[in-house]
C-alpha cells in the first residue's frame, strides 16, 4: 500500500535549505548534548535488518541507539568482501554470504557461496561453501539486486541489528541518537530559520500536494481560489527561536492557542524546564501551525514512523504522548468526515496502536458512505485501517479471524469483504485484492488440509481445487474461460461458471469442412477464501508477471472473482501485471530434484510407492499438458489436478488426509481415461542426453501408469485385506496361526515387513508363542534376569534367531511385535554373515560396532514396527516418533 504521506527525511549537509524537513532533521539528529564538528547524521542513509517473529526484516529508517563504532562491529573486519546475502538469527548470530563460485553438481552448474557466521561476541565461525538451497535464511538484503561492500555494513550484536550505510563518502562519522531525547540546541545552527514562515509540502487528506500553490501563483490553475487560499494558510508554519544555546528536549509540548486564532503550537523547552507545563515559557524553539494537519505532518517527519528515539529512554515521552492524544481527542469527537480526516494524518505507528474495535467501528462508518478518493481520500484511509487491524493480529494464526471478521461484519446484510470489493476503485482495488491475498496466504485458509473449513464448504457441491481456468490476451482484449462469475450477497459464496470441455455438434451449415464445437461449462461454488490452483502456462497474463518458474498459482477464490471484474483488467492494463509473493507460487516439476533433500519427500514416495518415477511421471504429465487442446478436456483437467498434488508434495507439504484424498481421486480420474492416456503418451517427447528428443519406451510408459496406479488403489486394497485378517482372528488364540498365514499377512506394507515375512517363510526366523509360565521360564533359561523381566514388563524377546511371544496377545499386537523382533533377527543374520567373513579379531569388532549400541538396535526395531503400524492403517502405538524415542531412551540402557 502506498504511504498516505510522503514522510521520507532527506539528507542534510551543512548547506541545508530553509524548509520543514531540514528543521525536523536538525531537531532530530542535531548534536546531542554537546556540539560535535563535522558530523553528519541522517537516518535516511541507514538501512537496518532486524528480526521480527523469527523472520528477518530489512527496513529502511529504523534506528537503534548507540553510535556506530562502539556498539557495532564493522563487517569489513571479516575481509574485503562483496556481500550477497545477510541474515540474522534470534539466538544472536549473523551470517553473511560472500564470494560466489560455480560448482558442478550432478552435471548442473550451481552458484555456491562462502558462508561466514559471526556470533554475538563477534567471533567468526569456520567459513564454508554452501549450495544455494542452504541459504534458507535469506534475508532480502539484496539492494537493487547488487552485492554490497562489507565496509558498509555494521553488525550490532547487542541489538542483533545490522546497519547498512548507503554511501560512506557522505560523512565522516555516523551517530545514531542515544535515545534520551535531548538535544544540544546551538542557536548558530538554527538561526537561519528564525522568524521564517515555512510552507509545508505534504499531500493532504484530499490528495493535493503543495505544488499547485506555485501554479496558482502563476495564474495557470483552475482551482477554486478560496479553497486554495485556505490551503496556503493551512500549510503555514512559523518558526520563532530563542537566541540562548543549551540542552533542549527533543519532544515538544503541544498546545492549542485559542487566543491566537486557534493556532496549534509546538514548544521545545530547555531541558531544565522540560517538565514545565506553563504555556509559552522557557522555550528555545516555538513553531506555530495554522492547522492540526500541518502540525501532524511536521511531527510525522521525525517522530513516529521514522523515529530515531528509543522511546523507553525518553523522559518526557509520557508528557508528549499525553499532549498528542489530547490533540487527537479534540478532533476525534467530531463528525465521521473529521474522524476520517484525522485518521489520514495519523502515522502508521499510532494507527496500529488504536483499539481494533474502534478501528472496525470507523471502518464500518466509512463503508456506509460513498467511498472514493474524490474529496476526502477515504479509499486510502480504509486500506490504512485494514492494515492497522491486521498489524494487531501479528500472530499469524489469527489471520483467519481477520478474514472471518470481514465476512461476519455486515451492513444491510452485505459483508465488509464485498462492500470493500465493490467500493474500492483502481489501484486501491488492486491493493485490496493483493492485501487479501497476502493475508490469506498466511492463514489456515490457504492450507490444503482437513482443518480448512473453506475446502469442505458446500459439501458435495464444493468446487475442485484445481480449476480449469484459462486466460489470454489477444489484441489488448482479455479473455478467460469463465462464462460467469459473481458472489452471492446472502451466502458470501462465489459462483463461477467455467468452460470445461468442447463438444462437437456436427458441421455447421455455412461450412461443411469445419465442425462446430460447443463449449460445455460447469458451475462451481466456492467459499471466498477457498484455495484454488490455476495452471500457469494457461494464464500467461494472469497477475503473474514475468516469473515462469511455477507450474501452479495458488489463490483464494475471491482473487479469481476479482480477475473477472472488468475493472480489474483495466487496472492491470494500466498498472501492469504485478508480481505476487513467491510463496504463493508452486515450484515447477523440474525443481523436484532440488528438493530431494527434504525429508518429507519420503512421504511423497510413500504416497506414490514407486519413488524413482515421480519425476518422470510429473515431467511427462507436464509435457502432456502442453499438447494443444488437452487442457480443455476432462482428461487434461484430471492430469493437471494430479500434477498439482505431486508438486504440492514435492514441495514438502505434509501428506494430510485432504492431500492424500485429493491425490487418490486425481490419480483415479486420470486412469478413468487410461486409453486416452496411453494414446497421448505416444506423443510425448523427452530430452535425451545427446540433446535430441526421444519418445518414451514401452517400459517407461508402463512404469508411469503403474506409478499413477499405485497412488490410488493398491494401498487401500491391502489395508482392507489386512483388516479382514485381523477381524478373523479377533478373540482367538494366536498360538493357532500358521506360519504361512502370518507371513502372507505381513507382506505388502513395508519393505522391512516383507523381509520379515521372507525369513519366516524360509525358516530363518524361529518363533514360539508361549503361555505366561513357559514364556518366563524360557526367558530365564536363556540367561534373562528375574529383575529385568519385571522391570521391562517384557512383551516379547529375541534371542539370536529364536523369538518368543506371549500367546495371550491380540492378533494385531502380535503382528506388529513380529516386525519388531524380526528386525532384531534380521540384524542378527546380517551380523552373523559379516562376522563369518572376518579375517581378524579387529575386523570382527569393527563389524559389531557398526551395528551400534542397544539404542541403535531398538531404534531400528521400533521404527520398522511403527512404519508397519502406519502402513496397515490401524494406528500407531506411539503418537509421534519423539514419544517413541523417549520410550527407548528412558527404558533401555544405552549399552548392554
Amino acid at each position: 500500500m502506498e504511504d498516505t504521506n510522503n514522510m521520507m527525511v532527506t539528507s542534510v549537509g551543512n548547506d541545508f535549505g530553509v524548509d520543514a524537513k531540514s528543521l525536523a532533521n536538525l531537531i532530530a539528529y542535531g548534536t546531542p548534548y554537546k556540539p560535535k564538528p563535522n558530523v553528519a547524521i541522517d537516518r535516511s542513509l541507514l538501512h537496518t535488518l532486524t528480526i521480527e517473529n523469527g523472520i528477518t526484516v530489512w527496513t529502511e529508517n529504523i534506528i537503534e541507539k548507540e553510535t556506530i563504532g562502539s556498539g557495532f562491529i564493522s563487517l569489513s573486519q571479516l575481509g574485503n568482501y562483496d556481500i550477497f546475502y545477510v541474515s540474522l538469527h534470534e539466538s544472536g548470530y549473523m551470517r553473511i554470504y560472500v564470494d560466489p563460485q560455480e560448482f558442478t553438481v550432478n552435471d548442473e552448474v550451481q552458484i555456491w557461496y562462502r558462508r561466514l557466521s559471526l556470533t554475538a561476541g563477534g567471533i567468526l565461525i569456520q567459513p564454508e561453501y554452501v549450495p544455494p538451497e542452504n541459504i534458507t535464511e535469506f534475508s532480502g538484503l539484496d539492494i537493487d539486486g547488487e552485492s554490497i561492500s562489507a565496509e558498509r555494513l555494521y553488525y550490532g550484536a547487542t541489538w542483533n541489528t545490522i546497519v547498512y550505510i548507503n554511501d560512506i563518502t557522505d560523512f565522516n562519522e555516523v551517530i545514531i541518537s542515544d535515545g534520551t531525547c535531548s538535544l544540544y540546541y546551538n542557536y548558530e545552527e538554527f538561526k537561519v530559520f528564525n522568524k521564517r514562515t515555512i510552507n509545508l509540502d505534504f499531500t493532504d487528506h484530499e490528495g493535493y500536494g503543495a505544488g499547485f500553490i506555485e501554479q496558482w501563483g502563476k495564474g495557470t490553475t483552475d482551482f477554486d481560489r478560496t479553497k486554495t487560499a485556505k490551503d496556503i494558510i493551512k500549510r503555514q508554519m512559523k518558526v520563532i527561536l530563542s537566541d540562548r544555546s543549551g540542552s533542549i528536549s527533543q519532544l515538544p509540548m503541544i498546545r492549542l492557542s485559542r487566543l491566537n486564532n486557534n493556532q496549534y503550537v509546538l514548544e521545545y523547552k530547555y531541558e531544565e524546564q522540560a517538565m514545565c507545563k506553563i504555556p509559552d515559557s522557557d522555550w528555545a524553539i516555538k513553531l506555530e501551525f495554522q492547522s492540526y494537519q500541518g502540525l501532524l505532518y511536521f511531527l510525522n517527519l521525525y517522530y513516529f514512523n521514522n523515529s530515531p528515539f528509543n522511546t523507553n529512554a525518553c523522559r518526557y515521552e509520557a508528557l508528549f504522548l499525553n499532549d498528542y492524544d489530547s490533540l487527537l481527542a479534540l478532533n476525534l469527537r467530531a463528525t465521521t468526515e473529521e474522524q476520517l480526516t484525522i485518521l489520514y494524518y495519523l502515522p502508521y505507528d499510532v494507527l496500529i496502536n488504536q483499539n481494533p474495535i474502534d478501528l472496525w467501528h470507523i471502518l464500518g462508518k466509512a463503508l456506509r458512505r460513498k467511498v472514493s478518493n474524490n474529496g476526502l481520500n477515504i479509499e486510502d484511509i480504509l486500506l490504512s485501517i485494514l492494515r492497522a487491524i491486521v498489524y494487531n493480529l501479528r500472530i499469524k494464526t489469527t489471520y483467519e479471524a481477520f478474514l472471518n471478521a470481514l465476512l461476519t461484519k455486515r451492513i444491510n446484510n452485505k459483508s465488509y469483504l464485498y462492500l470493500l470489493f465493490d467500493k474500492l476503485n483502481n489501484d486501491r482495488f488492486r491493493t485490496y485484492i493483493h492485501f487479501l491475498w497476502q493475508i490469506w496466504s498466511d492463514s489456515a485458509y490457504s492450507k490444503i488440509d482437513d482443518d480448512n473449513t473453506a475446502l469442505t464448504h458446500g459439501g458435495d457441491n464444493a468446487g475442485p481445487i484445481v480449476v480449469p481456468y484459462t486466460s489470454n490476451k489477444t489484441i489488448g482484449i482479455y479473455n478467460t474461460s469463465a462464462r460467469d462469475a459473481k458472489y452471492n450477497t446472502d451466502s458470501d459464496e462465489i459462483n463461477i461458471e467455467l468452460v470445461v470441455d468442447y463438444e462437437d455438434i456436427g458441421t455447421g451449415n455455412y461450412d461443411e469442412f469445419h465442425s462446430v464445437e460447443q463449449a460445455i461449462t460447469a458451475k462451481y461454488t466456492f467459499h471466498p477464501f477457498s484455495p484454488l490452483a490455476i495452471i500457469n502456462n494457461e494464464n500467461p497474463k494472469f497477475i503473474y508477471g514475468t516469473s515462469q518458474e511455477g507450474q501452479f498459482t495458488l489463490l483464494p477464490a475471491i482473487v479469481l472473482l476479482a480477475n473477472e471484474e472488468s475493472k480489474f483488467w483495466s487496472n492491470l492494463i494500466t498498472a501492469g501485471e504485478y508480481a505476487i509473493d513467491i510463496a504463493t507460487t508452486l515450484s515447477g516439476v523440474g525443481n523436484i530434484l532440488k528438493f530431494r533433500h527434504l525429508a518429507k519427500l519420503s512421504l511423497l514416495q510413500k504416497a506414490v510407492k514407486i519413488g524413482g518415477y515421480i519425476e518422470m511421471t510429473s515431467g511427462t504429465i507436464n509435457a502432456l499438458l502442453k499438447l494443444s487442446g488437452l487442457n480443455d478436456t476432462k482428461f487434461g483437467q484430471a492430469l493437471s489436478e494430479y500434477l498439482f498434488y505431486l508438486e504440492l508434495l514435492s514441495l514438502g507439504a505434509e501428506l494430510s488426509n485432504a492431500i492424500e484424498k485429493g491425490l487418490k481421486k486425481a490419480a483415479g480420474d486420470v486412469l478413468k481415461h487410461e486409453d486416452d492416456f496411453i494414446k497421448h503418451l505416444d506423443e510425448v517427447e523427452v530430452d535425451a542426453p545427446n540433446g535430441q528428443k526421444r519418445k518414451l519406451t514401452e517400459e517407461e510408459k508402463i512404469k508411469i501408469i503403474e506409478d499413477i496406479g499405485s497412488a490410488t488403489d493398491v494401498k487401500p486394497k491391502r489395508q482392507l485385506q489386512y483388516k479382514n485378517f485381523i477381524k478373523k482372528w479377533k478373540g482367538k488364540s494366536i498360538a493357532n496361526l500358521s506360519r504361512e498365514e502370518i507371513a502372507d499377512n505381513l507382506k505388502g506394507f513395508t519393505e522391512q515387513a516383507n523381509r520379515v515375512a521372507k525369513i519366516i517363510e524360509d525358516g530363518k526366523m524361529e518363533f514360539y508363542i508361549l503361555d505366561e509360565e513357559a514364556f518366563k521360564n524360557k526367558y530365564l533359561q536363556l540367561g534373562g534376569k528375574e529383575g529385568d523381566y519385571k522391570k521391562y514388563k517384557i512383551e516379547a524377546f529375541s534371542s539370536g534367531r529364536e523369538n518368543y511371544f506371549r500367546s495371550d496377545k491380540p492378533i494385531e499386537k502380535f503382528m506388529s511385535e513380529l516386525v519388531h523382533e524380526g528386525t532384531h533377527t534380521l540384524d542378527n543374520i546380517k551380523m552373523d554373515a559379516l562376522i563369518e567373513k572376518a579375517k581378524t579379531l579387529d575386523e570382527m569388532l569393527k563389524i559389531e560396532k557398526q551395528f551400534g549400541n542397544q539404542w541403535s538396535f531398538e531404534k531400528r526395531a521400533y521404527f520398522h514396527e511403527r512404519s508397519f503400524q502406519e502402513a496397515t492403517g490401524l494406528g500407531t502405538e506411539y503418537k509421534t516418533i519423539e514419544k517413541m524415542l523417549e520410550h527407548i531412551f528412558k527404558v533401555y540402557p544405552k549399552h548392554y
Partner: protein, 131 residues
Amino acid sequence: MKIETKELFDEMLTYKRRNSLPKLYMKHLLEALEKSVDDNFSISITRLLNWIKKSNRNSVNKDTYEFYHESDNGRYQQLFKYCTAIHNVFVLNENSIIWQESVSEEEKLEILDYIDKNYDWKMRVRARKKK
C-alpha cells in the same frame, strides 16, 4: 580341562561372543558350520551354552539337557555328525544331551565355571509402553 575340550568351547564362545578367534582359524566347529543343513546352526550352540551356564536360572539341571523344541533332535544330530571333539564331552540321546562318562566331576565343574565366566549371551526384549 583337556586342551581339545577347551579349544572346542573357545570356538563355541567365539562363534557366539565374537571376541576371540575368527572362523578362519576354527578347528573343531568349522566342518559343522560349513556342512550342517541346519539354517539356524547357531541356535544349537546358543542353547547348549545357555544350558551349561551356571548362573542361568530355570536351567538348573546341569546333568541333562532335556530337549524342549521339536527341532532340537535333528539340530544336534547335525552338530554331533560334523564335530568329533564334542563326543569327548557330551553324548546325544534321542531327547536329551548328557555328559560323557569320561568327563570327571572335577573337569565338569571346571567347564561350567569357564563357560559361566566367558559366556555372555544377549537377548533383545520388547519392553511394554509405560502408561
